[in-house]
Each structure stands twice: as structure tokens, then as C-alpha cells.
Subunit: 252 residues, 2 copies
DNA sequence: GATCATAGTCGTCTGCTTGACGATAAACAC
DNA sequence: GTGTTTATCGTCAAGCAGACGACTATGATC
């Protein structure tokens, strides 16, 4: 049965990615510089068109691999290898969000451990990790006094939503381990929470909480001193994906 | 600057609605019977194409009004009149989810107080409130022994995701009041939680929790005996939208 | 009108979790 | 060795939740 394409308005569908990582104690997002209009020269979130035969999650995983070389996780598999966590975030479809045409963007959120450096489509100066608060202070000035143009399109909103999702989700899930290498210490995991939430946590209470939650962390037997100080036990993420009771985010 | 439409594959974009309410102590969803292929005669979620000049939230609100007569809430306004809560749920874009063509559906979740009866496009026999567990037991048998066909398309998945969202969101937000009339008693609110979660809650502990959370409920001064028994105080939803600490869902 | 059933509301007690913080341990730098 | 850093264990008080007793105010029933 043929279907009349004129019966519905045609849309372009894209995926945009909020790729977050923790670098040098601050929450950073992947940004790419746009090479063509609209918003030429402005920073934007990575993304691209969904292909005709492709699922949304596949399209997001493909874009993620193209931009970072990261494999996306099968959501059914616990987070423990170098693949990134990838989940759908929300969909943005304001008729005017792209001046060229009607574009609906299905934003995805990816969490990755600290990566050497983005190896974009080749040109390294057009891809970077930037602290999210820098990307979100639209039209302000960077730490070097250089004016910072707001992100292209509605990407500041998308980034903001992605950051908020990450902040709330590490409260009640083991998702913070997606920011860590396969083996990590309790202190490293605590610094992830501190960077994502932008607060300081008590090391002793944090240690009690994460080691006391069954299935959250499993010791690997090894230790490391890569953070300095007394050697710390190494852990892997355990099978538990839900944290009950949740980790409490301190009041501001 | 003109854009070459052949550079990207065209998609149809729809909104589908998971409209939930609580009727006779059970969680029910709005279902419509499909009048044309594909899946002709099968039950489905209400929905339709997004128009060319319409935002996604506008499209969802329009569909909701067409199916139920409910006005959607401005999300900035606290839930207290007869408007329904409406929020984006997730987007479904499997290439084969609609056999006719490539359709991406942006599902929305609506929560409404118990309504008289759906006044669909006119034909009442093709719209109904059905208990969600009945809609979700795909290919099983209804309570009357009549075989129940699974929902059309991937709507069982969408409904399941919507129900799960509602179940988790009433834990930490005041969203359960969206299922209640403007004025309601503590017992009525408790029965909402019990229906949505499918558990029994202790009336005394529930009463202590909701009346002890500042800003959650505000007494109107009136009382009612519409549930029988001793007269109960009437409340309206207070300004607080977040419940901290959350309402704890009992272990199974 | 007494009794019963129903639902609402207030308290009490116990155990668990948290936040604050003292104390000790094991590495490295000098 | 001394100081610094980070990790880890312990203690204590406050807060909150689950279990549950007790009392109240209606309508229904005899």
C-alpha cells in the first residue's frame, strides 16, 4: 500500500551529542567548531543526520565513534571497559531552531573516562574538551579574557539539560563509574562526584557509603598510589546499577 | 542560502501520548482503536503528525486536547487546575517501527485526574481508559477471557517506558498531585501512590510524610467525607515540586 | 439510639543512615 | 626523621522510616 508523502510535512532528523568527561577536576564537554554556515566558526555540539536505515541509538553511537573513537556500550552490559555510556537525552524540535529547514534533533548523552585528546575528523583545532561552565556562559568572557560566543543553535540548552541529567543520575545510579577508567580508587570516584556536582564531599563518609553499598564496587585486589599518599585499593564497577539509598547531593 | 533537500533523508515526525490516570484504584492509560491500516482494529496510543509550523510540545498539547479535551499545563505553573501535566518522554525511531515509511515518534507523558469519559473524535467505542497491565500483557487474555491483541507499532514499549517514568517520578516530585482533583485529601493522594506503584502504603506513615514535607500540601480549610469514614482535611498542591527526601517506594 | 465499619489523625519506639569529625596508616618529598 | 598527602576505620548525635497502638469522627445497620 503506497503512502502519500504529501500527507505529512518532511523533517530532517539529526542526533546531537552531549559527551561529558572529567578532566583536571572539572566537568568538560566535547565541542566542535562549525566549518560552515549557519553559525560558521561558532562552537557546537557534535552531531549529524540520522541515515535512512539507521536506528537513533545507532546514529548516536556512530557519531560518537567518529568524533572520539569511543565505542558505545551495550546498555545491557555493565560499565567496565573503555566504552562510553550512551543514552538518549531529549528531543528538540522548535520550528526555528535551524534557520535552514525543519530539523528535529534527538540529543544523546555520553559519559566517558578522561581521554587523551579528541582526534576529530582530522583537524584537532576544531574539536576540544571545554569546561561546561565555560560553554554555558553564553556571550560572556573566557578565563583568558577572550570573548566567548554562545554555542550554536539551541546547543546551550541541550548541554544544560545533559549536564543536569548527569548530575541527577549519579545520585541514584552507578553511572559515575562511567567517568572512571576500568579500575579506579574510591578517591578517584569521589573526585568525579565532586567535579560533576561542583561540591566538596567528606572523604570518610563517601568511603563508607560506596564501600558499604552491596554490589556497587568490587575490589580487584590491586592498589595504586597514582594519586599520591597512602596506597589505595583498586575497584571495578560492580553489577549494581541502582544505588539504593541514593548518594545525597549536599545542599548548596 | 538554499539547502539541498536530497542531502538528508526525509522523515515523518509524530507525537504519541501516554496519558495516564487513576480510576477505581488502578492505573489506566488512554487507548484508541485504529481505524485504518496498518494495525487496523488494534488498540494504540493516541498521536499524530507534527505540523510544519508547530513545536513538539505544542503538537503534544494539541493531540491531548483533541483526544481528551484537557488543556496542557504550562510547566512553569504549579499543578492545580484541571489541566494535565505534560512532559516529553522519549523518542522512538527504529527504521522498521512503521511499515509504511520512516517515522520518528516523540512520545510524551501526560498525567490527568480521573476524567468522566474520553470524548474522542466522536466515536466513544474507539477510545477508552484501560488498565495498563491489561494493555501491556501482549497477546494474552483479558479479564473476561477475550483475547487481547498487543498494542500497535512499538506502543507497548512506549507505554511501558511512560509508566516506569511516572512510577519513578512520583518518588521525588509532587507529580502524584497531577492525578488528583484540585482539592484532595491525604487518603486520596495515598491511593494514587498505591495505584501507580501497585503496593499498599501505611496510612499513618504516609500521612506523616506528606503533611510533614514543607510546601508539599497546603490545607484549604475545608473537609470532605466523600471517601466515607471520618471527615478528612482538603489540601491543594503546594509550590514545592521536588520532594526531598523522596517518598520511598517499598521493596517488592 | 447503640453498635459497627470505615477512614483519618496523632503518637511512640526502634533501627538505620547520615553528617561531622577524631584518629590512625602508608606512601612520598625533603 | 619530619612533614605532607591521601586512605581508611571509628564514634557520636540527629533525623527519618517502618511497625504499630490509640483515639476520633463520620455514615450504615440493627
Amino acid at each position: 500500500m503506497p503512502y502519500d508523502p504529501s500527507a505529512f510535512p518532511p523533517f530532517a532528523v539529526t542526533v546531537d551529542l552531549v559527551v561529558l568527561t572529567v578532566r583536571r577536576h572539572s566537568l568538560c564537554a566535547l565541542a566542535v567548531r562549525r566549518g560552515e554556515p549557519p553559525f560558521q566558526g561558532r562552537w557546537a555540539l557534535p552531531g549529524g543526520f540520522v541515515r535512512a536505515d539507521e536506528d537513533l541509538a545507532q546514529a548516536a553511537a556512530r557519531e560518537l565513534a567518529e568524533e572520539t573513537g569511543l565505542r558505545a556500550h551495550d546498555p545491557a552490559v555493565p560499565v567496565q571497559d573503555n566504552g562510553a555510556h550512551l543514552e538518549q537525552l531529549a528531543t528538540y524540535g522548535d520550528p526555528k531552531r535551524d534557520p535552514r529547514m525543519r530539523v528535529v534533533s534527538v540529543a544523546h548523552l555520553a559519559l566517558a573516562p578522561d581521554l587523551p585528546a579528541p582526534r576529530a575528523g582530522g583537524d584537532a583545532s576544531n574539536v576540544r574538551w571545554a569546561p561546561v561552565e565555560e560553554l554555558l556562559q553564553r556571550g560572556g568572557y573566557g578565563r583568558d579574557g577572550e570573548p566567548v560566543a554562545p554555542l550554536a543553535f539551541d546547543h546551550a540548552q541541550i548541554l544544560s539539560d545533559g549536564v543536569e541529567r548527569a548530575r541527577s543520575k549519579i545520585e541514584y545510579s552507578s553511572l559515575a563509574t562511567a567517568f572512571c577508567p576500568p579500575e579506579f580508587t574510591v578517591g578517584e570516584l569521589r573526585r568525579v562526584y565532586e567535579a560533576v556536582w561542583g561540591v566538596a564531599l567528606d572523604p570518610r563518609n563517601f568511603h563508607r557509603k560506596v564501600t558499604g553499598t552491596p554490589g556497587f564496587l568490587v575490589p580487584t585486589g590491586g592498589t595504586t598510589t597514582r594519586q599520591g599518599g597512602r596506597p589505595a585499593q583498586l575497584f571495578r564497577a560492580g553489577g549494581a546499577t541502582l544505588l539504593n539509598p541514593p548518594m545525597l547531593r549536599p545542599e548548596v
